[in-house]
């Protein structure tokens, strides 16, 4: 793959602009958050061209943005943020992706590393049995076709009704785990058939469950509000999404949007960017179906958290109250949301596409849970399984510059093939074990494809967002046990 030769100019600390005149048809400039070294790596592939392509979307405002974990996706870059006007802009399913509401859920504990470490193998093995994961995995929950509609309508609330969580979990979940615009009638029978048996499964690929230990605390006040009090404290991080249901919703609506592009005469540089006006039948139907998939994902992560709680109780032989496995927060990183933002001095209703990006609202915002009103919304940024993950907070600067968005993870630098070849003959599990990380995976191919070398160092990514002021660091944790689907 050749290096990207387009125009890009440094416009400030960790900020780069792709000028609007780079490509005829761009409606706004591109804005990329990266440091000098990172930009050179980003230029090795075509993701910056994708930033420019997204700028073609009708009704886009501000800039077509890319977070520092940007990498080459299909249509949108991964790490992309695009805001379109609800009144006369479009919604693009490719700006959300196939894994709708792929996201992360963080739980804290009252346990210390020294208590958990001796039992980590037993704990991970128990979690591996108790949380369905891997290729073709089916869930332990049986839902009828009628009940799947309830999951799609209610999201995490459905899981709470079924005893898989509590009101406290909902309070610290983005959207309280339920997007109200969900309408199960807009989700195809195929999507429901695909999704019903997979509810409560981790899946495969980059999805994981990690037992982590707090290594650094940068903001003790904010950390304390999140229940993170000291170094050596054990955390649990869950990363998964809407499984086959979301994939099918995306595919179904890309076909609908393919027709809509012709009907509304929209010119696009890549078919994967297919879109329709937000205020059209196609646009409204997609948002109603996407919300269903998002709700499914929130229910999914809550069910998985429930079984993880069970496993901790079983393996550690303690009561759940003494383990204190309470949810810190749950964020979506593949989603489109209708939000109010200031554009050129006026408050406007926008559709914010976050494709591999996290919402990062500051203190005081109405959508930030009561518990975190004074500090801002927690942002969860997982790294690869051999390094670390970060907890951060949304900022006013993010609200002003990025429509309240920041990065979502490390971002790949190596293709899966290259990662596999790079680790050929190397036992990835043994390498991690040498670092004190016990890993259990369903597929060795998957494990090799997810090796550390395939990713940017998440620390570099988080440093850029911290320096740029679009989120600020609170704490860092490293894994001691990992389940890879």
């Amino acid at each position: 793959m050749s290096q990207w030769q387009g125009k890009i100019n440094k416009i400030g600390e960790c900020r780069w602009e792709i000028p609007q005149d780079y490509k005829s048809g761009m409606k706004v400039p591109g804005l990329v958050y990266a440091d000098d070294k990172m930009l050179n790596v980003i230029r090795e592939e075509q993701s910056l061209e994708q930033v420019a392509n997204v700028a073609f979307l009708p009704g886009i405002v501000g800039c077509s943005m890319a977070m520092p974990d940007i990498h080459w996706g299909y249509g949108f870059p991964i790490g992309g943020v695009a805001a379109t006007k609800v009144r006369d802009g479009v919604v693009s399913p490719g700006g959300v992706g196939y894994d709708i509401n792929c996201g992360v859920r963080l739980l804290r504990t009252d346990l210390d590393e020294k208590e958990v470490k001796p039992k980590i193998e037993e704990l991970i093995n128990h979690l591996f049995r108790n949380v369905p994961s891997g290729l073709g995995s089916e869930g332990k929950i049986k839902v009828s076709e009628k009940e799947i509609d309830e999951v799609l309508r209610l999201g995490a609330e459905w899981a709470v009704k079924r005893g898989y969580g509590s009101e406290q979990d909902l309070e610290v979940t983005e959207e309280r785990g339920c997007m109200k615009m969900a309408n199960p009638d807009k989700v195809s029978a195929r999507a429901k058939k695909r999704g019903a048996p997979q509810l409560g499964t981790l899946g495969s690929g980059n999805h994981f469950l990690e037992v982590q230990v707090v290594r650094e605390i940068y903001d003790t006040g904010a950390a304390r509000l999140m229940g993170i009090t000291h170094m050596g404290q054990v955390l649990l991080l869950i990363h998964t999404g809407s499984r086959g249901l979301g994939h099918q919703v995306c595919d179904d609506y890309l076909r609908v949007m393919g027709e809509a592009v012709r009907k509304y005469g929209i010119a696009l540089p890549d078919r994967q960017l297919a879109c329709a006006p937000i205020e059209s039948d196609e646009g409204r139907d997609y948002l109603a179906a996407m919300a269903c998939a998002a709700n499914y994902a929130w229910a999914n992560r809550l069910c998985i958290a429930h079984w993880a709680r069970e496993s901790f109780v079983r393996v550690l032989g303690k009561k759940i109250e003494d383990i204190g496995l309470e949810q810190v927060y749950d964020v979506a990183h593949n989603i489109a949301k209708i939000e109010d933002h200031m554009v050129e001095g006026k408050r406007q209703k926008l559709c914010i596409h976050r494709k591999g990006a996290t919402r990062a609202f500051p203190a005081g915002q109405s959508d930030v849970p009561e518990k975190y009103k004074s500090i801002g919304q927690p942002v969860l940024i997982p790294g690869d399984m051999g390094r670390c993950s970060y907890i951060a907070l949304g900022t006013d600067r993010a609200m002003q510059e990025t429509f309240g968005s920041t990065c979502h993870g490390a971002g790949r630098v190596q293709s899966r093939g290259a990662a596999r070849r790079g680790s050929r003959g190397v036992d990835v599990a043994a390498e991690l074990a040498a670092k004190g990380i016990y890993v259990k995976a369903d597929s060795m191919e998957s494990l090799a494809e997810e090796a550390s070398c395939a990713y940017k160092d998440v620390t570099d990514v988080v440093e850029v967002t911290h320096k740029a002021g679009i989120s600020k660091k609170v704490a860092m944790a490293t894994p001691i046990g990992v389940i890879k689907g």
């Binding site: 592939e45 994967q272 093939g417 494809e449």
Partner: protein, 139 residues
């Protein structure tokens, strides 16, 4: 039939380039390429057959619809296919018989999950004699 496809690297995902002397062969080879990403296609026996009929507005859309239909069938029915008789007509209709079997964990090693075939830079090139198509999958 030889494996008339290649697997290509893409940073976040994975792709294939499929070849064929005509659209029928191209579509069959693309399907074989898809299942080669999932498992070892040489180990798929032809025990069951499934008929698939589709239509779409152009050959590229039809190719994506075809691959995603196979992924759907695989996911809901745990059925993998290794052999295909495909007929693609000039008005973008597809009729196919797919031969394969249910996944048997004893014999079939599953490699990875494929979420979907994407439309990203999808392009069918060529004319009489040699067709090729590049498809990127989301994984």
């Amino acid at each position: 039939m030889e494996n008339k496809f290649e697997v290509i690297d893409h940073t976040a995902d994975i792709g294939i380039v499929a070849y064929g002397g005509n659209l029928n062969e191209l579509f069959a080879n693309a399907a074989r390429g898809l299942f080669s990403l999932i498992t070892d296609i040489d180990k798929i026996a032809s025990k069951v057959s499934k008929k698939i009929e589709l239509d779409d507005r152009d050959p590229e859309s039809l190719l994506v619809a075809w691959l995603n239909d196979l992924l759907y069938t695989y996911e809901v029915g745990s059925t993998i296919f290794g052999d295909f008789d495909v007929t693609v007509s000039e008005d973008n209709r597809l009729s196919a018989n797919c031969y394969g079997e249910k996944v048997d964990p004893q014999r079939h090693h599953l490699r990875r999950e494929i979420k979907a075939a994407t439309y990203h830079n999808i392009h069918i090139a060529g004319a009489s004699g040699l067709y090729s198509a590049r498809v990127i999958f989301d994984i």
